[in-house]
Symmetry: C2
Subunit: 204 residues, 2 copies
């Protein structure tokens, strides 16, 4: 894992950006609508394709999977279904270093934390966003990552990690309490990474 | 500190409840409006009294202080300006037990976490609520509690505590990820209290 954060950019690359084709916009709009109306689990690529007026194969071509389409449609700056397993794959004794590096990247990259803040705000304010996030996290993130983590309480541990990350976004970017809001990403990462490491692999 | 949570009920008692007089309602409505329009710092009891059409002394009689009026108006179930110093007053070696007890009370008392969730949602969704919370926390909570805690990084430490508590509310009650959302208050408190204790007095 290098410190440029390039390996986290999958979600951001497939998100909405100026210059993107109208077809992609139509797919993302239809996906946002279908995920909000039906939740993550029940929304289907077929219905999204129909609403966007495109062939379902085109969605697969652009986004690869329902999971990645969701990440792009909701505007997540990184795909937790890809980031978490990568974090957990390495040696446990350096997990805290990988967590620290990820936090520095997220906190230090404006486009990333701006989009993350948008998703947190939307989940707090709109029940249908909370629902689709809940279903997405359960199915695509917590489930697979719990297998990688192992142990009876793995999903609970991953929930705790989610709680601290969402709370950090709320405190630093939404309510913007000081000095946390202005602290250097490295300083914040130094204090939060051990919490996340304990939640994942430490004694609870 | 007993486990009934009676000592935390100050905020809840002074909140809006059925049977409350029209005068109190008028004061709380005027306070909500003035705090939202001017922020916590610039809102004045004089302007709130004028808008409510009551004598300023009546506000002092009902709510005691601007701080307590704010807690009641925004619907906070407990007053962090009173809870935090009480937590910090006792011996440091039992701080984690007091944190655990407070978490069990908050998570296990429907009216308390329901109102806390309402405030977190409002802060996430409405910039003027985020602003008044930020000013209230800085002036009435973090400032005095940092003195009680001591050390150069006391306010930063209190910010970290706030981040984990808000994140816990988001994860358990707003997005409601499982199994965290359904876990017993005692189980959640056991895992979160050591994090809060480390943020307050442990090595960062």
């Amino acid at each position: 894992m290098n410190s440029s954060g390039a390996e986290y950019q999958g979600g951001a690359r497939s998100g909405r950006r100026p210059g993107q084709s109208g077809t992609r916009e139509a797919i993302l709009d239809a996906a946002s609508h279908q995920f909000a109306a039906r939740g993550y689990t029940r929304a289907s690529l077929r219905a999204i394709a129909r609403e966007a007026g495109v062939d379902q194969k085109l969605i697969a071509h652009y986004y690869g999977s329902k999971q990645r389409l969701f990440v792009a449609a909701i505007g997540l700056p990184l795909n937790p279904a890809e980031v978490l397993p990568a974090l957990l794959e390495g040696p446990r004794e350096t997990l805290v270093d990988r967590l620290r590096e990820l936090l520095v990247f997220v906190l230090g990259t404006a486009e990333v934390h701006r989009r993350l803040t948008g998703v947190v705000r939307a989940a707090a304010g709109e029940p249908e966003v909370a629902r689709m996030m809940r279903e997405f996290m359960a199915r695509e993130v917590f489930g697979p990552a719990a297998k990688a983590l192992g142990g009876d309480d793995a999903t609970f541990r991953l929930n705790l990690v989610g709680s601290q990350i969402v709370g950090l976004v709320m405190a630093r970017f939404v309510v913007a309490i000081e000095p946390l809001a202005s602290a250097a990403p490295e300083v914040v990462a130094d204090t939060i990474a051990p919490t996340l490491a304990r939640y994942l692999v430490g004694p609870l």
